[in-house]
Amino acid sequence: MKHLDETELSALLDGALEDRARADAERHLAGCATCRAGLTALEVQHRSLALMLKHDPGAAYFETFAARVRDRIQTEGVTMDPVPARADAAADRGGPARPIHAPARDSLLERLGRWFTGPRLAWAGAAVAMIVGAGVVFLVDNEPPVRTLEDRTLAARARQVAERTPAPAATMAAPEPGARATRGATGSVTPSPQKERAESRAFAPPPPATASDARESAVAQKELATALDATSQVGTASPLAPATPSGPAAKPQAGALPGRSRQVQRENGEDVPVQVPGETPPGTNAPLPANRADANVSKAQRIKGQARTIAGGPLDAARKTGDSSQSGAPGTTAFTSTLAGEVRVCGEVKDVNGRAIEGARVALADMGSSTTTDKAGRWCLVTPPGEHTVTVMAVGFREMRRSFGVTPAAGNQDFTLAAVSVLGQAADESDAAPPAWPPAARGIASAAERASRDAEYRNTASAHDSAATRWQKVTEVVKIGPSSHTARLRLAEARYRAWQIDPSPERSTLAMAALSSYLGVAPSGPERERAQRSLEQLQRR
């Protein structure tokens, strides 16, 4: 008896055999236990494969997917490729001669196109390559050194860190391994794979290339100031208002997007966007200045209990004095008052030698507010009482997170950051060592950390969704131990933040699942209590 071969069994499984062949195969199967077993084994394998590869990131993920694609297209400046002329083919199909957006080419262009064929095209290409190459060499040789505020800050930070470690200052300022190369950064970084490229395109907006762009940027800054004035006049600033008064973020940046109020500052060797009041996420249409203020107000009203400042606070002072590096200093420009029930939390950020770290980013992640430290390393944020998590980030230092209970009687929250060495290892592990991720999870955990930082800056639900997706992957890899607890906590935080910013039933479900997952393993402590309260809040809604 001739058994069915693998191809016949496979096609039979898929219903892809022709009628006659199928009838023959089924007749054979009826009398052949071997082939029946073979077919059953194939079917089991097929079903197992389908089950294994099934994955649903959830409705919330897809709700924002198209917007994220649009953001990428706009951020990266992707345009549709020109359409080749194929009028004959289109006419054959009865369709339009060419897509609507493609203007009809004039006959001269078509003639030129026909001329540039074969060897002529090759010679023309070679000539163009030579001209472009010569132009690039000319531009590189004549380009003046980039001297921006970030570079000076970075250089100062490099010197500070270099004093702690034996590595040369020039390399200390280099980004951590895996970070991408950015314009003006010292040291060299090998561009990483496609994912890194995508992140690079998404995070690093192009600097104004022309005087016109610079003018537009200046206009955008003026519009922003107008919007901020309007906001502070009604006494309810953006929850992110404290982020702007001090440090380099408050000054117009070379990296600001033309026509937008988006700014960048150097963080861990990367240009990262700095969220400012009135800012719209990348890719969205920037509202008119008047509307921007309204948007700030409504946003502040929408997000209850967010940290805020008031008119006359450091933001106001910063604009009046025009010296952002001084005006935001919590020690010199205190908040004139706080709204009822709110508490001003202050502290200092220093390195392990006790020296102040200027320009460190201090964020209340759960409140969506942040600020930067002044020259003395001091910071202040106004927030409702309760359990909060503070994240501190500074170029050249390891990120530090701490949860604590905010009360009117609470003392200062000081942070001591450990320096990061050239190899990305802590120069001093005595403080704030992050969780030791297993080797298999280091890469994805690092990506998740970056996504979370991005989400904190962008302060959008979709950004937190994206961060949650990455943390979820970490939880899939790290299943036991303290790092598993951390991964689950970070996933829960990201889910909860996404829900806070843009509540939906799907996000609520995902946040509750993530919080429950964390609470299932969480040790007792303030993090657990905070997660428990967050879960209860979700359940009450």
């Binding site: 039979l12 997917f65 198209a66 297209i73 549709m80 490729d81 957006h101 994912k195 995902l510």
Partner: protein, 198 residues
Amino acid sequence: MNSEPRRKEPVEPLDETALVVAAQGGDEAAFAAIVGRYQRSVYRVAYGLTRSSSDADDLAQETFVRAWQALGRFRVGEPLHPWLNRICVNLAYSLFRHRRRRPETSIEPLVEAGQQWAASDDPQAEAAERESTSQLEAALAELSSEHQAVLVLRAVEDLSYDEIAQTLNVPIGTVMSRLSRARAELKARLRARTGETE
């Protein structure tokens, strides 16, 4: 067993053509509608090929970014679904080549977010199932990119041989033989891992 392959997201050709024409004219809303229509399908394929939610996220987004870029060259009236899947598969091939290795392994896919932490009534059975899934995934990762792609398109998207042929731009006969060889190789690799004999 022999049921006809089903299309999970039936589309209306006329609507699709209108959307394509509008999107080719620069209508972002039309393109967003296209994205909304096929995002789940593209994500499923991306996840099947990478077995990683973050890679799938990147790959799915990149697929639509590339689609927008190349939309002007898309022939109006042809089905979008295989075209998008082809972009996704080709991007995955590039990703694999770039990494010079197979997609990441030992990721246990989750049917739904949060389900992974659900308590199990039978921990032993769950552990055995997890081990079995892990072996299957490792065996799949050992296959060539072409074999993985054909298996994913068939198992995840339930595409017919004709649709797979359109997606991979190969004849139907090639799909049939490639799928058969991929299944046989997967079975052999799995047996080698588990120590089972014929």
